[in-house]
């Protein structure tokens, strides 16, 4: 069965790149533009994993991770954050909030697929 992944990013181009790469690798993709949007969409979406940016308007990635971990249904779900080199402390915060892993931007499509395979199996 095709596994579904939610990509959360306020940048349309990152969403498109992530979406295209994942679809090409055989996954289904559902998009959200920020943390709030992700929370409202995740239940019933069938998503088995979340890939989220950290800097976003409305609700940022860290808050999203905390909110997801607080829900029983997503307590053990793989969540990967998109970070940048200059966000060392953010990365630590994300891990403390319960992120499964991270990908440093900019990344290549192959790197993204490798990380997804790593945490989703």
């Amino acid at each position: 069965m095709t596994q579904k992944i939610m990509t959360v990013d306020d940048s349309a181009s990152v969403r498109q790149m992530v979406g295209f790469t994942l679809k090409d690798a055989g996954y289904d993709v559902v998009e959200a533009v920020d943390g709030k949007d992700a929370l409202s969409k995740i239940n019933g979406s069938g998503a088995r994993m979340v890939i989220t940016d950290l800097n976003m308007p409305n609700m940022d990635g860290i808050e999203l991770i905390k909110a997801l971990r607080a829900e029983a249904a997503h307590k053990f779900m793989p969540i990967v954050m998109l970070t940048t080199e200059s966000q060392g402390t953010k990365k630590q915060e994300g891990k403390a909030a319960g992120a499964t892993g991270w990908i440093v931007k900019p990344f290549k499509p192959e790197q993204l697929v490798a990380v997804v395979k790593k945490v989703l199996g």
Binding site: S11, A12, S13, V14, R15, Q16, M17, F20, T21, D24, N55, R69, K75, F76, M77, P78, I79, T84, E85, S86, K95, G98, A99, T100, G101, W102, K105, P106, F107, K108, P109, K118, V119, L120, G121
Partner: protein, 706 residues
Amino acid sequence: MNIPKDAFLEEAYELVTELETSLLKLEEMPDDTDLIDRVFRAMHTIKGSGAMFGYNDIADFTHELETAFDLVREGKITVTTELVNLSLSARDQIKAMLDASVDGEPVDKDRSKVIIEALKALISSGVETAEVSRSVAGFSEENVDTTLEDTDGEVTYRVRFAPHSDIFKTGANPILLLRELSELGPCSVTAQTKNIPGLEKLDPETCYVYWDVVLTTAKGINAIKDVFIFVEDTSDILIDVIDETEENNRGIDYKRIGEILTERGDLSKAAVEAAAESQRPIGEILVASGSVDPGSVDSALAEQAHVKKVRQERQQAPQASSIRVAADKLDALVDLVGELVTVQARLSQKAVYEKDSELTNIAEVVERLTAELRDNTMSIRMMPIGATFSKLKRLVRDLSKELGKEVVMVTEGGDTELDKTVIERLNDPLVHIIRNSIDHGIETLELRETSGKPRRGTVRLYAEHSGANVLIRISDDGAGLNPERIREKAVSKGIIQPDEAMGEKELFSLIFTPGFSTAENVSGVSGRGVGMDVVKRGIDELRGSIEIESAGGKGTTITLKLPLTLAIIGGLLVESEKAKYVLPLSAIEQCVELSREDAARAHGRNVLNIRGKLVPYIPLRERFNIPGNPPDIEQVIVNEVDGQRIGIVVDRVIGEHQIVIKTMSRLYRNIENISGATILGDGTVALIIDVPKLISETKNEELAAA
């Protein structure tokens, strides 16, 4: 991979505009940190997505600009008119690079250099620290391919992976990590379960287990560390080298158990020495005396066995060679294995009835050995399909010359392995399909040119494994199938009724009907209406299926789905009124119960609601005219055939069996629903149901009745 770039460009243009606005404002309010952040973020996003979408020139250039503003953010340099001026011209340069990628106008690369030089000069006059030049140079270095170079030889590592007890709460799955580790090379994993508490104290959300892994890999220690990258700072991970290739001169003997246990810190040296004085195996003594837990000993034993095996294989590797064997000897071997599987099934059944534990033991061992023997024998018969592919290349070359077309053939997956018989019998169907592609699919040179396609047509041949099947795709970039013309033709030939409602796929599959040909001119290559029905028959005989996809003007793709092997299949044994039947496992999706009420609810329409989806079913009793009354609860075996789910209703499901297929005698050749038979453990015969045929026959009859 070709990722669409429109979203990137659209966003980049927006960001460039924003950058301009923010920079101009910044000139008026040089101390506004919000503005500095906005400028920085715009640059950062352009750089990040630029690199991801392959605009390395833009990414590299923007990086320099970003570095400067990073220093501004950190308060190391201040915003001056000069900096804003430079940044604005840099922003114009980024826009020029974006324009270049849209309209193809070349960019003035010297201008980029001039701007960067000026920026660097400005920065170094602003701050004297050495770190600046480092970070300025940093970006291109980061992008250097970081794949680790393989170390010279294979090294055996001992890895102890003790995840944090809260690891599940970060969504990580230790099993996946261990699986990833095992992909690096031969690997033995021992789970240490001594910390698991009793059921009353067990918290299912906590990880109590740790793992000892012995891994032999040539990829180096960093590859192992990479596996644990997301969990390394919360888990305890110990990696030790325990065996290297160079040390191999010492033969295959490895350290003693006691030595391994002390090395790992599971046991003290003194305890080992004390235990070694006794004559019994040291592991037993240590466990009995309670000085070490059984898990640690198991893991040390696993390490010993692993290293020995690796060393042995290393010594034997140069001697591995092959011998040639006549094909009929192999066929005889397969036949014998088939007989053996049948007899083994009888033995297992007998053992069940006898209730003799010794007999049961023997039967179980025979069962395991037979299964291994069967798999081994089947693997001997596997051959790569590449040789067939190369023959077809020649065919393409000759045919295209004959027809005055230019066609190249591209093949992929030539190393995909299939049973020898399947490969041999696949040749004719493939030849027919490719002939049709070149003759009817690929257009003439003039036609291709007027429709804006490359002069040279392409035929792709692609093979890949998919579970117990092999998929072979043949696609061309020709004219594609015309559903309307197929319909007209089928009507004129009396194959379908003029008003018959049919989907595109069903229409396409009509080309496999005997006596069907769409080509207006009969050529010497194909087009006599024999051919495609021969393909269908050939693939049916191989227990395979065919699917056609086609888009007008873009080409046609034909997918053949074939079983890996013909002689032995996995089957589900079922029963209806004391007669046994086998359904091939490959198509089975699930089994559900059908009660009288369920059946009545559908008002005789033979459909069942399975989790909200309606699934039609075929009662075997009705189909095969089996007399007698069905049980109160019948079983529905749901099959997926050509993308459709269809149930087959039987009285009882007996279980999964390895089925040795026996062909039926000529007398039964016309019974289309049955593809063969097999002999069961008790000596009775079970008929193998040809599910796709059964379904298509039922459909046809229902259509005729309607």
